[in-house]
């Protein structure tokens, strides 16, 4: 009966296929689906969880600087360069680099310089100095690390004043790893430079101190002759970071930690060119890039309008971005921005829109 033969053949073939598939999957369980060469998922962004910590120690490591010890239960581990968000009693949120010992899992140490309102302060450091006394409870988020220390055979650290805070754990780590390092530490006067004694003790003649009232600004000319394997880390005032970037050999960039001012509403007006649609919009001081772009392109995607969901992320073709989101990684910040909160850091932005 031909029908019977067909059925039998089909069943036999099915059994063979099943056996072959099983055997194949026995050796490679995820066969036969292909995988994306560079997986996107699986790395997380480490959303920052709020935690209550207790101020248990307060010291004055230099004039105008207070150091706080923040104790908490089961604090997450961190690496040199990390910072925490401090939610101050008034609700202000400020970022401070961790400058203690990463091995101390019971407490974080931060240090902050008092910046008076007349000098551009916006009340955060004043609140830290006046209200965070031992016994006070405060909320922190993080830590996060936007300034990680990559393994390198040699390092140059350039600190300006309170900018020593993220670099201090790096110096200690470089020393512990037996790496070749040197530190250039600038400040207004020795009395205002925190942790000076410690770094001098640690580094001896590898530490160059440039106090403005003694020797003026630090000499950075040596950076031009740096061997390619030396990594340069800098944290300090904008002027110092610009000077370091300018002194580096052609085509090389220092790793910088900016004192990020957490998003004040608005800013100044600037222009945004939408390259693909060939239009240019002006973003007034009191509106977001998103709002201005939507006038021209009503179908541009967005959602939370607070810089955390990422729906409005756009590719940046040119221009300096003042990133005010809480989502993008440094790699993503290189060529994209969240247009709902981030703005121009000065000058025109060009978006791929």
């Amino acid at each position: 009966m031909p029908r019977f033969t067909t059925v039998a053949l089909a069943a036999g073939a099915a059994l063979l296929v099943r056996r072959a598939v099983r055997r194949r999957m026995g050796t490679a369980p995820l066969w036969p689906m292909p995988a994306l060469d560079e997986p996107v998922s699986g790395y997380g962004r480490g959303a920052t969880v709020p935690r209550r910590v207790l101020v248990t120690g307060r010291a004055t490591p230099a004039e105008g600087v207070v150091e706080l010890r923040l104790e908490g239960e089961r604090l997450p581990s961190w690496q040199p360069g990390a910072h925490v968000d401090l939610v101050l009693p008034s609700g202000l949120v400020r970022q401070y680099s961790l400058c203690g010992d990463p091995a101390d899992s019971g407490a974080y140490t931060i240090a902050t310089r008092l910046v008076e309102e007349g000098q551009g302060g916006r009340g955060g450091s004043r609140e830290v100095h006046e209200r965070l006394r031992p016994g006070a409870e405060v909320e922190i988020r993080g830590p996060r690390n936007r300034f990680p220390l990559a393994a390198a055979p040699s390092y140059v650290f350039v600190a300006g004043g309170i900018g020593i805070t993220p670099l201090l754990p790096m110096v200690r780590a470089a020393e512990a790893a037996g790496a070749d390092w040197r530190l250039v530490y600038g400040g207004r006067s020795r009395a205002t430079m925190p942790y000076l004694a410690e770094v001098e003790r640690l580094g001896g003649d590898r530490v160059t101190v440039a106090a403005e009232d003694e020797s003026g600004r630090p000499d950075l000319a040596f950076l031009a002759q740096l061997p390619p394997e030396t990594a340069v880390y800098c944290c300090g005032p904008d002027g110092l970071m610009a000077a370091v970037a300018a002194a580096m050999p052609e085509g090389r960039e220092p790793r910088l930690e900016r004192f990020t001012a957490s998003a004040p509403a608005g800013g100044s007006a600037f222009e945004v060119e939408l390259r693909r649609s060939g239009r240019t919009v002006t973003v007034p001081a009191d509106r977001s890039v998103l709002a201005a772009v939507r006038d021209e392109l009503p179908d541009v995607a967005y959602s939370c309008r607070q810089g955390f969901c990422g729906s409005c992320r756009q590719r940046v073709l040119a221009g300096e971005v003042d990133h005010r989101d809480e989502l993008l990684t440094d790699a993503e910040r290189k060529d994209s921005m969240l247009i709902c909160v981030s703005r121009s850091a000065g000058g025109r932005l060009v978006l791929d829109l």
């Binding site: 369980p29 995820l30 995988a35 996107v40 998922s41 480490g46 959602s303 939370c304 989502l327």
Partner: protein, 294 residues
């Protein structure tokens, strides 16, 4: 024909917004349903599928925005996009923790990435009809998948047995925050599908595709986790295990899942007929991870 029109329940509509969340995984053990790796890993498959899957939802919906002519639906879709984007990130944040506990998810998630980014990605299509067809097809697929996410969301909000077994509170909070938002926005995907196309044949076809893909990926994910779990010696799993857990209430029950199939395929289906928005909002208002819904 009035009884064959999908009828939304008006009282179930709420304005949608993305909520900022944070979950602390430090204390979550590998087997977060104590002593029950099968249940743990069956639910863990969510963390494998959702990061890429919900990113894909967002990607597709951004392309659908220009075709929406109804303002309220547009607002809903915009809220939906933000919620899905945050879901994707929140589940992705669990994966490094699993890796730290000795269970590297990357071999599997790289395949899920391929599935959503390449297989279901934009393809190289001529603008016009072909591109619109592929967009509608994917919007319909999302509507079918959202039928199940809403089903699972409703289930997890009521899965008291997981609390009784001492399941990890952070993981339960993640699942219930996510589930509650799925219940909250459960009508959006279907309404967008109705708005752009709504054809019954497409609904049935994409349901069949979505359902088979989910079953295929899910059983594969459970087996992947069980086989690679460093703490398990005998990684056996069977459909019977699933049915039994469903009866015990730590996983969705098989009969309830089967009953949800004809509901989606009914011509008068509308997602607002299932689930309970008030319960979802009540959970969101108290969820620690969602900061009390603020």
């Amino acid at each position: 024909m009035s009884n064959t029109q999908p009828a939304p329940v008006a009282s179930e509509h709420v304005g949608l917004k993305a909520r900022k969340v944070a979950f602390d995984w430090q204390e979550t053990p590998l087997h977060w349903v104590p002593g029950d790796p099968f249940t743990t890993h069956t639910i863990n498959v969510l963390h494998l599928l959702l990061p890429a899957g919900e990113r894909w939802f967002v990607h597709v919906y951004k392309q659908a925005l220009p075709y929406i002519t109804d303002d309220r639906l547009r607002e809903d879709v915009i809220g939906f996009i933000g919620q899905e984007a945050v879901h994707s990130q929140a589940h992705d944040d669990v994966l490094p923790h699993l890796r730290k506990l000795g269970l590297d998810p990357t071999p599997y998630t790289a395949q899920v990435d391929w599935f959503f980014e390449k297989l279901l990605g934009d393809r190289t299509l001529p603008p016009g009809r072909a591109r619109r067809w592929w967009l509608k097809e994917r919007v319909a697929l999302i509507a079918a998948i959202e039928h199940y996410t809403a089903f699972l969301g409703d289930w997890v909000l009521n899965a008291d047995e997981l609390d009784r077994r001492g399941a990890d509170p952070t993981m339960l909070d993640l699942l219930r925050w996510h589930g509650a938002e799925e219940v909250e926005h459960r009508a959006v995907a279907f309404e967008l599908f109705l708005h752009l196309d709504g054809g019954y044949r497409r609904r049935a076809r994409t349901w069949a595709l979505a359902f088979s893909a989910l079953v295929f990926l899910w059983q594969r994910g459970v087996r992947f986790f069980l086989e690679n779990d460093p703490n398990l010696l005998d990684p056996k799993a069977s459909f019977a295990d699933f049915v039994r857990r469903g009866r015990e209430g730590v996983l969705p029950s098989t009969p309830a899942m089967l009953r949800s199939i004809p509901r989606y395929l009914s011509r008068s289906y509308h997602p607002s007929q299932e689930g309970d928005t008030a319960q979802a909002l009540a959970y969101l208002a108290s969820s620690p991870g969602a900061n009390g819904g603020r």
